[in-house]
């Protein structure tokens, strides 16, 4: 039962924080909310007994990707854009459509996954796997057993995708004209006076 409560807690935090990522004005806040959503999804994964994957989430997503985002936001000095005016216009329509889809999903999913038909309760919706008590793998061992033997090709393709991402990032940002970085703008140099340079 406690697993249930924790699942709902983590899910609500995940939903709310991912919503806040796109709603807040300040970029740093939105990245911090992104980090919170990653951590709560790692928590859900912990509850599903995938501890390796959860820790990998935290290491890769939070430790690498979110930190990368933070660096970029820091260096680019993004101004906060006040775009509150026209977001509210689409909210009712989007809420109706989203509500319709959500009800449909919940109805269909709820019909299919009835694990305990005798005790239809909101809180006691747990499912007990007897075989796991006898013979368990740790998750990292099972991932290794499957990914590197049965799904090797998929692993290699995923590696290819990452290679492609690296090449893409380099292609889109590289500036092969190295000499132009160090150009002098004479006008700017000559128009300095001590009033706009010296900070006392």
């Amino acid at each position: 039962m406690i697993i249930n409560i924790l699942f709902y807690l983590f899910s609500i935090i995940l939903l709310l924080s991912s919503l806040m990522v796109i709603l807040v004005q300040n970029s740093i806040y939105s990245i911090l909310f992104l980090v919170l959503s990653f951590i709560s999804s790692a928590g859900i994964l912990f509850l599903l007994k995938c501890e390796f994957l959860a820790l990998m989430f935290i290491v890769i997503y939070v430790g690498a990707i979110a930190v990368l985002f933070l660096f970029v936001v820091m260096m680019l000095d993004l101004k906060t854009i006040n775009s509150k005016k026209d977001t509210l216009k689409y909210f009712p329509f989007g809420a109706v459509i989203g509500g319709v889809f959500l009800t449909e999903i919940l109805m269909v999913v709820g019909e299919t996954f009835k694990s305990n038909p005798y005790n239809v309760s909101f809180l006691y919706n747990s499912h007990f796997n007897w075989y796991e008590r006898i013979d368990t793998f740790t998750e990292i061992r099972s991932i290794g057993q499957v990914v590197y033997t049965e799904y090797v090709l998929q692993f290699l393709i995923a590696g290819n995708v990452l290679l492609l991402a690296t090449i893409a990032a380099v292609v889109l940002t590289i500036n092969t004209n190295v000499a132009s970085d160090k150009k002098q703008v004479i006008f700017r140099q000559l128009s300095r006076n001590y009033k706009n340079v010296l900070i006392v």
């Binding site: 449909e104 999903i105 269909v108 999913v109 019909e111 299919t112 996954f113 033997t149 049965e150 799904y151 090797v152 090709l153 998929q154 290699l156 393709i157 995923a158 290819n160 995708v161 290679l163 492609l164 991402a165 090449i167 893409a168 380099v170 292609v171 889109l172 590289i174 092969t176």
Partner: protein, 510 residues
């Protein structure tokens, strides 16, 4: 013509392996070369190297002999049957033509980064893997590989706002549709416990939910609505990728803003592979669920054809016109997809092959006509830029006219033949209303094609636009395509036999 390669007989994915390894090698080689010699202009030689690599991988595909049909390779995640063989062959040869055609474009537009070619090769690798994928995970990874290459290809010109805009739009829409695919496949995995297409087929071979005939009058013990639900998501994500109405709104912006060589690729090459995936999922694995999505597809078909026909009427730029024409063509292909018989798969594949070849012709004409006095530096040709092409380059104008009549589906061209084959399958399944509407809309669509012909020939202006002459290599390729076109009408038996053989393999459960 088969060369015995004894050592490599059982390596099923030899073409993809070769392509992947040579791509990695090319990346390393070019990077080190660039750094060492201070970034020389190597994109032309890399293009020819890429052509060589593609040609050799096509040769490896052709050489396969299909000997490993009954074995389960790579844990049954890769299937190597006639469908994958033929679609890989078609996609490989199309990409080969594309690469050779865009060579003058790359040199004249100063796309100086060699990675352009490598990205195209990555996309082709993704398409090869997509054609021979046998489960949802491989399909998703292959789609991601191909899509990621295309996102970057769309935004390759960094100085142009249009290009960057197109890249971002494509990226967001593509990521969204891939996530829909993932959601659908996770639902399918949740219900069935497997992601393999063969196992789906074994599980659902006698299940016909949603149909009202006598097969399923007994009370089924299992409620299939979640499976249908997952299938809907997968279907929508694949329809997004094909730019079919009502999921087409990204296509005009993306296709217009990308550099023309990239648009050439987008419009011609990936559609066949995505249709192969659609056929595998919806005709091979889940054929019983046909009735639940059939009318949904019919509505999408009618909408696509109407949007494609009416949308193209007010376009003033050539690229947007061609985008809307490809939207309507995908609508016609979906008519054959929604008919549900063996002949319909055969005609669908015929239609796709002819569509790809005619798309190749039209887009290569678009790329090869380069304006001489282009002081505005505009890339997207207005319709009036083609004026008097009949006088300045009359062979190209004749070719353009022939291909346009084929694209419009007008006799006596091969486009007419495949279009009536598609309508024939719809008539066979008694979908008369759909055929009536689509045939009337095709007449409306014919108008903008003959408007192009009018601009080529009929205008009585005194001075037309000047174009650079076409190089010898491109003209050889174009004339080869022209004769292939003319020949295909006189003897289309080859096309029909080819597609019939493919359709027999896909439809084992019908």
């Amino acid at each position: 013509m088969r060369i015995e390669t004894l050592l490599f007989k059982e390596v099923v994915i030899l073409p993809e392996l070769f392509l992947g390894i040579s791509l990695v090698y090319l990346v390393l080689h070019c990077t080190f070369l660039s750094i060492k010699k201070n970034y020389p202009l190597i994109q032309n030689s890399i293009l020819y190297l890429g052509v060589l690599v593609l040609f050799l991988s096509c040769f490896l595909v052709l050489n396969d002999g299909l000997e490993v049909l009954e074995q389960s390779v790579l844990n049954d995640t890769i299937v190597n049957d006639y469908v994958s063989f033929s679609s890989k062959l078609v996609i490989g040869s199309l990409s080969l033509f594309c690469l050779l055609m865009i060579q003058p474009y790359i040199t004249s537009q100063k796309i100086n980064q060699f990675e352009y070619i490598l990205l195209i090769l990555f996309a082709v690798l993704g398409l090869f893997l997509l054609c021979s994928s046998n489960d949802l995970l491989t399909a998703y990874l292959a789609i991601e590989l191909q899509s990621l290459a295309f996102y970057v290809l769309a935004s390759f010109k960094r100085n142009s706002t249009y290009s960057v805009d197109a890249g971002i739009k494509y990226f967001i829409l593509g990521a969204f549709s891939s996530s829909l695919f993932l959601f659908g496949s996770s639902l399918l995995y949740g219900v069935t416990g497997t992601i393999n297409f063969e196992e789906f087929k074994d599980l659902f071979v006698n299940v016909f939910p949603g149909s009202y005939d006598t097969i399923s009058t007994e009370i089924s013990l299992f409620d299939f609505s979640l499976v249908q639900f997952g299938l809907v998501f997968i279907l929508i994500s694949l329809l997004f990728k094909l730019a079919i109405a009502p999921f087409h709104t990204w296509a005009p912006d993306v296709y217009e803003g990308s550099p023309s060589a990239s648009t050439f690729f987008f419009a011609v090459v990936p559609k066949l592979a995505i249709f192969v995936l659609l056929l595998r999922i919806f005709y091979y694995s889940f054929f019983g669920f046909f009735e639940s999505w059939r009318y949904f597809i019919v509505v999408i078909v009618v909408l696509s054809i109407i949007v494609g026909s009416f949308g193209g009427l007010e376009q003033r730029k050539l690229k947007s016109l061609l985008v809307y024409s490809s939207i309507s063509h995908m609508g016609y292909a979906l008519i054959a997809f929604s008919a549900g018989t063996l002949e319909s798969i055969q005609m669908l594949l015929c239609y796709l092959i002819v569509y790809s070849f005619s798309g190749l012709c039209v887009w290569s004409i678009f790329i090869l006509t380069r304006l001489k006095n282009n002081h505005l530096q505009k890339q997207n040709k207005d319709l009036t830029d083609l004026v008097l092409l009949g006088k300045s380059n009359y062979m190209l104008a004749i070719f353009f006219t022939t291909v346009l009549f084929s694209v419009a589906g007008f006799p006596p061209m091969i486009g007419f033949l495949v279009k009536i084959s598609v309508f024939l399958t719809a008539v066979e399944s008694s979908m008369f209303f759909v055929v009536l509407i689509s045939i009337l809309c095709s007449v409306i669509g014919t108008f903008y094609y003959i408007r192009l012909i009018k601009i080529l020939y009929f205008e009585k202006v005194l001075v037309g636009k000047l174009y650079y002459p076409i190089q010898a290599q491109s003209s050889v390729l174009i004339s080869f395509l022209f004769f292939l076109f003319l020949f295909l009408f006189i003897n289309p038996t080859l096309l029909y036999l080819f597609s019939y053989k493919i359709s027999l393999l896909v439809s084992m459960s019908i």
